[in-house]
């Protein structure tokens, strides 16, 4: 690409000094005047260098705590880098989150102007673009309504519209591609394509690989504060998933689950998801069968035990629940789980889940009575469903759809 470089970062270092014991008041300082404060150093960024050219969509990918948000904050002048140099050309929208600085007591009009100025417009310019913002957000009739009376969907739309209309040359964005209802999300997606086409430069931080592969020209993978890979978004996304896989495969041993509740007459030894080859996984591709496995050990005798689990989405909404009980032969009395005895639970579940993060709760009950919980763990497993499809809602259901013109109805009438 022959386009000029508009963001140039060289050797960025950022370290946070986290005091082991935080002194929050003058009183503490006065009581322990000589106490040395011990610090724990957290190296958030290590020698990060990259260039972004004009008109590029540049993705920054990394796990939580990898340093990607710190990098964005250093670029936005929210944090100061300890070493290194960043240079930029053109006007930057210094926002990393939408709707920051909205004042709930002020009307949409005042907030749009204020936010526009924060984005780097002059007061006059911000006022001039007011109509365009409200038009884009489809909120013209709520111009004089204080924001505290807005719904959250309306707020997001307004914030997104301000950002779009602020028309900065460079934008730093932290996970905000799909906002509002489905039709507005579509509008956002179109807007991003438009921005890319007119040559806006966008740095996008995300852990949604579908977004990276769909929008970004180039991407960078950060882990533990270091650049691990830079280049083709497809590569970056594969390396990112592999990185997650390696992390998860590390703990094969028995797990000591925190938050086991119930009478604890049984113990959950371990639980995991595996792929068709029997490897432990924490990421499933959209459509892959969910293979849930768990082992339970009796502590005291549990009569006629049953095992249940619940898949929940990132918001904690129950998606689907399943249960079974200990197998016994025909005509045999119900089994019981004896002390020291181990039971293995296996469940293969069809996977209609849309890409996103999910958790799995697991519990054991006595006498097939769901209120008599022997042991339960919430969020025993966290897993991510990935895929390049984007679909609204939690699950994709099989469906046959058709749209057929009606016989005998004239076209003009049909339009009405």
């Amino acid at each position: 690409m022959g386009e000029p470089v508009v963001i140039e970062a060289q050797g960025i270092h950022k370290r946070f000094r986290i005091p082991k014991h935080r002194i929050n008041s003058f009183k503490e300082r006065a009581v322990h005047p000589l106490a040395r404060i011990e610090y724990r150093d957290l190296q958030a960024l290590r020698d990060v260098s990259f260039d972004v050219r004009k008109g590029e969509f540049f993705g920054v990918v990394g796990r939580n705590g990898s340093g990607k948000s710190t990098l964005l904050k250093v670029m936005a002048s929210i944090y100061r880098a300890d070493a290194g140099r960043i240079r930029m050309a053109g006007r930057l929208a210094p926002f990393i989150e939408l709707g920051v600085g909205f004042n709930p007591d002020l009307t949409a009009r005042d907030n749009v102007v204020l936010n526009g100025v924060m984005m780097g417009l002059s007061r006059r310019e911000a006022a001039r673009r007011l109509d365009a913002v409200l038009d884009f957000a489809e909120l013209e009739e709520f111009l004089e309504l204080p924001l505290k009376n807005y719904s959250s969907g309306m707020l997001v739309r307004l914030a997104f519209a301000v950002m779009v209309q602020a028309d900065a040359d460079i934008m730093l964005i932290d996970e905000v591609l799909a906002v509002g209802d489905a039709s507005f999300a579509q509008k956002c997606a179109n807007t991003f394509r438009d921005m890319r086409d007119v040559g806006k430069t966008i740095v996008l931080v995300t852990h949604d690989m579908a977004t990276v592969e769909e929008y970004c020209h180039r991407a960078m993978l950060i882990d533990e504060g270091e650049v691990r890979y830079m280049g083709d978004p497809g590569q970056v996304s594969r390396r990112y998933l592999r990185l997650n896989f390696e992390r998860a495969a590390g703990d094969e041993d028995e797990q000591d689950y925190e938050g086991q509740t119930g009478t604890e007459d049984a113990r959950i030894v371990r639980g995991w998801l595996e792929d068709s080859a029997g490897e432990h996984v924490t990421n499933l591709e959209h459509g892959d069968t969910i293979r849930f496995r768990a082992e339970v050990e009796g502590v005291r005798a549990v009569s006629d035990p049953s095992f249940g689990f619940m898949i929940r989405d990132a918001d904690g909404v129950n998606v689907a629940g399943f249960g079974t009980h200990l197998e016994s032969g025909e005509d045999e009395p119900a089994k019981s789980l004896d002390p020291g005895e181990r039971v293995r639970i296996a469940a293969d579940i069809e996977n209609p889940l849309n890409p996103g993060r999910y958790t799995l709760d697991f519990w054991v009950c006595r006498n097939r009575n769901v209120t008599d919980v022997v042991v339960a763990v919430r969020r025993m497993i966290t897993f991510v469903v990935f895929g390049s499809v984007w679909a609204p809602g939690i699950v994709s259901l099989k469906a046959r759809l058709e749209a057929v013109p009606q016989e005998g109805v004239h076209q003009e009438e049909a339009r009405e």
């Binding site: 250093v74 936005a76 960043i86 240079r87 930029m88 930057l92 210094p94 920051v100 007061r123």
Partner: protein, 285 residues
């Protein structure tokens, strides 16, 4: 559809300097300051039906109580020329200082979202608080001067000098606001400490009494207070031409030096502390 402007051709690469007190350009600084101060002011005046009277109510009530106490109980008031209007003016002026500094303490922390998630010139936050209080002061002063005239004080040419002590007070208030707002990020007991100190200052400044009635033992303490000369000079210029100005009340120019040094020192400290803390605020929060 969205009408993006085409970006300027090949603008120059410029260094990103990180967060600071005034980062982001002076025009943006001024626009933000103006917008925030004006919207806050509008909110307090137009949000309630009786906005203006409401903002006058506090100083007037305080004034009524103190006037009753110091003319009827302690009788200090009867020795002082035009005591009621002097008291009223002093209370309103000190009210500005108090309102602005107390509100400034928590201001930066209250704007946490803005500080942590955008590049925002940090100085705008306490400055906007002081500016809002200044607008309030302006509104209150209209009532105060109407009262002064109604009381029968002759307008003098020295009234034109009123902006001098007012600006001196404004600058000092800003300096204190900067120190408090940046320290509060790290030391949360600043709010409590300041609420006590501001009460001490209220009695340690010639507000209820003129400087000349203060016995010598306390006089020296008052002369270190940077607010003392400001209030004394205001009295001579506005209320009572016969009163000694700041210089005479102090007993000579030399005696003004401690207060002046204190004033300059606090202003310098404010600039230093705020500049030092500004880049770190986002990390400390």
């Amino acid at each position: 559809m969205t009408g993006f402007g085409t970006t300027a051709e090949n603008p120059e690469l410029r260094d990103v300097r990180g967060p600071s007190a005034t980062g982001g350009g002076w025009r943006r600084f001024a626009d933000l300051l103006y917008l925030i101060a004006v919207t806050d002011f509008k909110k307090s005046y137009f949000g309630t039906v009786l906005g203006y009277f409401w903002s006058l109510a506090r100083p007037v009530l305080l004034f009524a109580v103190l006037l009753a106490v110091f003319t009827q109980v302690f009788r200090i008031g009867s020795q002082v020329e035009n005591y009621p209007v002097l008291l009223l003016l002093n209370i309103v002026m000190f009210g500005f200082f108090q309102e602005a500094t107390v509100a400034a303490v928590t201001s930066v922390v209250a704007q946490e979202g803005v500080v942590r998630k955008t590049q925002f010139p940090r100085l705008v936050i306490p400055l906007a608080v002081v500016l809002t209080a200044l607008f309030n002061l302006g509104m209150n002063l209209i009532a105060v001067f109407a009262f002064i005239l109604a009381y029968g004080v002759e307008p003098a040419w020295t009234w034109l000098l009123f902006p001098l002590p007012a600006v001196a007070l404004f600058v000092f208030t800003t300096a204190v606001a900067m120190i408090l707002s940046s320290l509060y990020v790290r030391f949360r007991d600043v709010a409590i400490i300041w609420s006590v100190l501001v009460a001490v200052l209220f009695y340690g400044t010639p507000i209820l009494y003129p400087l000349e009635v203060v016995p010598d033992t306390l006089h020296d303490f008052l002369m270190v207070n940077p607010l003392t000369p400001i209030f004394e000079q205001m009295r001579a210029w506005i209320i009572d031409p016969g009163a000694p100005g700041a210089v005479d009340a102090a007993g000579g120019v030399l005696y003004l030096l401690p207060a002046l040094a204190m004033y300059m020192g606090i202003c310098a400290l404010a600039v230093w502390v705020f500049n030092r803390e500004a880049p770190r605020i986002a990390e400390e929060l």
